[in-house]
């Protein structure tokens, strides 16, 4: 049993396995970065891809290459990498530290007379002189950092929340249901988010057809907390408890309605229209087609909103192929759709926002820091141990150094040549 475990550990820690895993991970990333990935394509693009290349797309799906990063093979590589890195690092670091402190040097040199550069070593004691000790834990730290990144990224992926939502000026976000559009693999939070967020104003500045400034002025109230004003800008997320809110960089205009149901109930309705950034501030009609269900009955809407000082809303509504309404509404005017009435109130700009959470993310970056610091230590510091001993009438110089310490190699060659 013990021999079996030792053999398993040797295989798990083997450099050959590391090479194979690195090659496979590199190839997987090349496939994922180059081949069409189903999650990256829009539904129309995916259809076109399937129709243009039916055999290739089928085989890519069968081989797990149509969604490389969510495939079982990629997950297996991840797991194997953690095992190999952990076992390899433990084995290598243990051997390195023991060897560096031990009795067997990497090389030795005999001198009849001591070169002047080595005379100071006489006082170094029986253990010799060490330098560049910071370099010794460099590679183990690099590998430990990679393990932290891989584990934290896996935990983050399993518990993260990433959801898009749109808020028009004056609109409030307080519940997840019906408002948040979840990203793939994301977990829906509790329906009560624990805060209320209102968009007070959206500031969009354009210059030469490009976005120059984008800011959202918000009013925030966390459960039991005071009401406070916040300014949300790109690169400066807003932290609310376990969540962060980001600007999603898509903006638009919302048409505001009051909807009157057959039973007399009145509800507000917002229909959002996306605006290309280069068209922001222009009064060009914004179009949107939609099928809306009302009491399980589909109603086809063709809509065009013209924003500006005198907004207009063009609406063509059809129910079972028969026109229900066809006309242009000005603010205050009502469209009677039979099923309900819509009163056009006006327009308001909306901002695309992104709600995220994930407690493991900070560990991903801690792993990055650990890995980079470890590799920097490996590159900048060169662990060396030199020990001088009497050898008959002469001297014996013993050295413990790592491979690729080219400065020490040059020094060693000088000592060899000067004997």
């Amino acid at each position: 049993m013990r021999r079996l475990l030792a053999s398993l550990f040797r295989h798990a820690a083997s450099p050959g396995l590391a090479l194979a895993l690195l090659a496979l991970l590199g190839l997987a990333a090349l496939a994922g970065g180059t081949l069409p990935q189903s999650w990256r394509l829009s539904p129309q693009e995916l259809d076109a891809w399937h129709q243009s290349w039916p055999v290739v797309s089928l085989w890519l799906e069968r081989l797990g290459l149509a969604d490389v990063y969510a495939s079982t093979g990629f997950l297996a590589l991840y797991v194997a990498l953690i095992v190999n890195l952990t076992a390899g690092t433990v084995a290598h670091a243990a051997w390195l530290f023991v060897w560096f402190r031990g009795l067997t040097p990497a090389r030795a040199l005999s001198f009849s007379a001591l070169p002047p550069t080595l005379q100071a070593l006489e006082d170094a004691g029986p253990d010799g002189r060490r330098s560049g000790n910071f370099g010794l834990p460099g590679l183990p730290l690099l590998h430990a950092g990679v393990v932290v990144i891989v584990i934290a990224a896996s935990v983050h992926a399993s518990q993260r929340l990433g959801a898009h939502f749109e808020l028009a000026e004056g609109e409030v976000l307080s519940q997840a249901k019906g408002k948040l559009l979840l990203e793939r693999g994301s977990r829906l939070p509790d329906n009560e988010l624990g805060f209320q967020l209102r968009l007070d104003a959206l500031r969009v500045e354009m210059e030469s057809g490009r976005l120059k400034e984008l800011q959202a002025l918000l009013t925030l109230q966390e459960a039991g907390g005071p009401v406070r004003q916040e300014t949300l800008a790109v690169n400066h997320p807003l932290r609310i408890g376990p969540y962060q809110v980001y600007l999603d960089k898509n903006v638009g205009q919302a048409a505001l309605f009051e909807r009157t149901l057959p039973d007399g109930q009145r509800r507000n309705l917002l229909i959002n229209f996306s605006v290309m950034k280069k068209s922001w501030g222009k009064d060009t009609p914004l179009e949107r087609d939609e099928v809306m269900m009302f009491e399980n009955r589909p109603v086809n809407f063709r809509m065009a909103l013209t924003p500006g000082a005198a907004p207009r809303f063009l609406l063509v509504a059809e129910h079972r192929g028969k026109p229900v309404f066809d006309g242009v509404l000005a603010p205050g005017e009502v469209a009677d759709l039979g099923l309900y009435q819509l009163k056009f109130i006006g327009t308001a700009p909306w901002a695309g926002l992104y709600l995220a959470s994930g407690q493991a993310l900070k560990w991903v970056f801690a792993g990055f820091v650990l890995a980079l610091a470890g590799f920097a230590m490996h590159l900048l510091f060169h662990p060396r141990r030199l020990r001088l001993r009497r050898d008959g009438d002469g001297w014996l110089l013993e050295a413990w150094t790592l491979r690729d310490d080219w400065r020490f190699e040059r020094q060693w060659r000088e000592w060899e040549g000067g004997r």
Binding site: A29, V364, H378
Partner: protein, 258 residues
Amino acid sequence: MTVTAFFQGGIAALYLGAALLLWPSSARTQRLAIALALLGALLHLGLLSLRWQDIGQIPIITCYEDLTVDALAVTLVFLAVQWRLPELRPAGLLALGVAGLGVAWALFHSRGAFPMDPSLRTNWLIIHAQLNSFAIGAGTLAAGVHLAWLAGRITSPDLPALAGKLAGWAFFLWAAMVAAGSYWASLAWGRYWGWDPIESWAFATLMAYAFVLHLRHKPAWRGKRWAVVALLPYAMMLFTTYGLLLIMRSIHGQYLFK
């Protein structure tokens, strides 16, 4: 031809001339080549300073600026390393050649200036882009050393160690670039990694560098065979930075204005 184009063409000519002068092994021609490269680098710095002053923002967001800054980083890395290790000067044939071609290629891109997108107005852009430039600098020099080694132009006994060290620096700078970009993405969009084509290729390049660095520990692979394989991650690095956006859509393409 505008004054800037003339100036830039002159810098490309200086680099390419210096690269050709590094091929003969005479110390005198090599010193002349270094002097030309140094003059080119000074003019190059001046050109970028003028551009910075002219557009009022750091010149690293258009393809023209990116290529020009990367070429300067390649030259500076080569000049700094050859100062300490003159035996690596033959590697300048590739390094200065790439820098010269980069400066010349930049001329084929628009020299127009664009206002910075709000997401670009952060120090993380500068850190991310500069690490990318210096990773390309270190990678180019490492590849130059590998090619000079294969061609028999460098015969130092420390060559395998030096080549490995340079590949290590390229890996370190590339990894730091990826980490900085990832942190910036988490601040700007709440997503630290999206397996975008550029991110996927950057990761693959990182794996390729890690592969060749591990391969060196196999005794059979420490010689010229290793130098051949070690050219692969460099080719991937160049393709990731300059080639991928020509054939694929990526979030990075929205910012590297053509």
